[in-house]
Amino acid sequence: MRGRVSKSRTTRRESKQPNDEMLLKLELRSNPEALCLVRATVERAAEVLHFPEGDARAIVRSVDEALANVMRHAYGGRQGLPIEMRCRRWSGESTEGKQSGIEIVLQDHGIAVDPTKMKGRPLNEIRPGGLGLHFIRQSMDVVEFSRKNGKNQLRMVKYLTPTPRPAGSEGE
């Protein structure tokens, strides 16, 4: 009689209203102490969307590195300046067909990104720095920098690869 009695899932409900797909919006300041708060939030968001642990870590790492870059580069290390993060359940088409996943959008009012500088160091050179963008690009399926109305925006999407649920796990 071993069996799963119930498995709460959160993916069905709000499929009609696109607004409801928003998980949350977070406004923080460019203070490195805020990073651990954001990491905790994003980790749970990934959990709520049923990302496997490894993918959740990848998403957390990407958001952390992207925010650190905003603090260090876009804001040149100045503290107390505003950063926004929006986090939503995403669904759409990728080259592999229909996909669902998580979309995270960061916005800041810092200096415009210089596209020619937006690359890390060659990975075979052993020196400090130049790793953040590598981490982000290796972790996320979509990474898009843009500038709109004097704001930098970074949009990241990670697809949720459906993992087959174990047999007999839908008890009721």
Binding site: M1, R2, G3, R4, V5, S6, K7, S8, T10
Partner: protein, 110 residues
């Protein structure tokens, strides 16, 4: 949140994994009442070892389970309470109302 049932000494153990908060307390309530009222299991154990957090709606579900089992003369036994869950039991003044044991061995021997 995950709830799994398995047989145990004189009854059934419900293993709960996750937080019993407003999002998940209805599932816990449903599983408990099903076990107690429908299946009429004489002794229902609630394994809370993997529960990091319980809120007042979760406590309400447990109280409903307790009332149902009292009505039917069956038993509801809790075990594996984390510090945080124990604290909430105390805040609710329910630590003496529920039958609470440290671990599975103690609970099933009770």
């Amino acid at each position: 949140m995950d709830i799994a049932a398995r047989p145990a000494a004189g009854g059934t153990i419900l293993d709960i994994t996750g937080d019993i908060d407003l999002a998940h307390s209805p599932a816990v309530r449903k599983a408990l009442l099903q076990e107690i009222k429908e299946k009429k299991t004489p002794k229902v154990y609630l394994n809370l070892e993997k529960v990091r957090y319980i809120d007042s709606s979760g406590i309400a579900s447990l109280v409903e389970g307790l009332k149902a089992s009292r009505d039917l003369g069956s038993r509801l036994v809790l075990y594996g309470l984390s510090k945080s869950v124990r604290e909430v039991m105390e805040l609710s003044r329910l630590q003496k109302i529920f039958e609470i044991h440290d671990d599975e061995a103690q609970a099933t021997a009770s």
